[in-house]
Symmetry: C2
Subunit: 150 residues, 2 copies
């Protein structure tokens, strides 16, 4: 690890600003969601993906692929959500190893109640005040970086 290429002044500033924004924004979104609906950002993501399929059910490995979560994180998270009654597990007939995660009525109620406030908060804290160009540039940047993350 000899002679690392340090960040130049512009990069340094951009990186610090990004880290700071990221941390504060995530914290704010999490707090709003938690306070107003009792859901975490993670719960929200899971429920969104479940409601995206009309069946309201998915195999855990599909959820994992879509969310890009660690497998054990997902498993633990589903256990906690199951304990709170937001989802339920079902056996999978086709594959004896597998399972289904199914959103419950309570889960549907929770996300339906949470969504408007959450979207409003994302808009207010993030998108309001950004120009369409900035939004496009962000998508581009995020996509570029994602590409390099493999």
């Amino acid at each position: 690890m000899n002679s690392p290429r340090w960040l130049d002044a512009d990069e340094q500033r951009a990186w610090r600003a990004y880290l700071r924004m990221q941390g504060r924004l995530t914290a704010r979104l999490n707090r709003q969601l938690q306070a107003d609906s009792g859901l975490s950002l993670a719960d929200y993501e899971v429920l969104v993906h479940l409601t995206d399929r009309q069946e309201g059910r998915l195999r855990p490995y599909e959820l994992q692929r879509d969310l890009q979560w660690e497998q054990s994180r997902l498993s633990h998270h589903l256990t906690r959500m199951q304990r709170r009654g937001l989802v339920r597990r079902e056996e999978c007939a086709d594959d004896g190893r597998g399972a289904f995660v199914v959103i419950t009525e309570e889960g549907r109620r929770a996300i339906t109640a949470a969504a408007p406030g959450h979207v409003e908060t994302v808009r207010r804290l993030f998108f309001d005040g950004l120009t369409p160009d900035q939004v496009a540039a962000l998508e581009r940047l995020a996509t570029d970086v994602l590409g390099r993350l493999g």
Copy 2:
């Protein structure tokens, strides 16, 4: 919370891409740092701020202000870092309530060893492949959003 203003298609895509990049990038950086040096991103930030002052010591409230962390998070984190020998607490003569956090020799050694690999990883995963314009746009965007976060 009636008639929320939903995100349009562009915003939706940008938001999803941002969330995804954010999650994956953080995970990768954390894993590299953890694997190569036994430090977490959080440890790293704390040590950077301590080494920024030539004394290597700060009042916890200063650290809190700089890092924008919850007070109790900082306190717990310092306790863990102290247990691992990276920092040490000292009493503050001027203010009987207060304390100092001081980086130890071991803390200095840890961050000195960790920094090159971490910077290299940030560069490789994030900055390589971004144009100077993109870097400038990111800083601008992050600063704008931070402004609105209050």
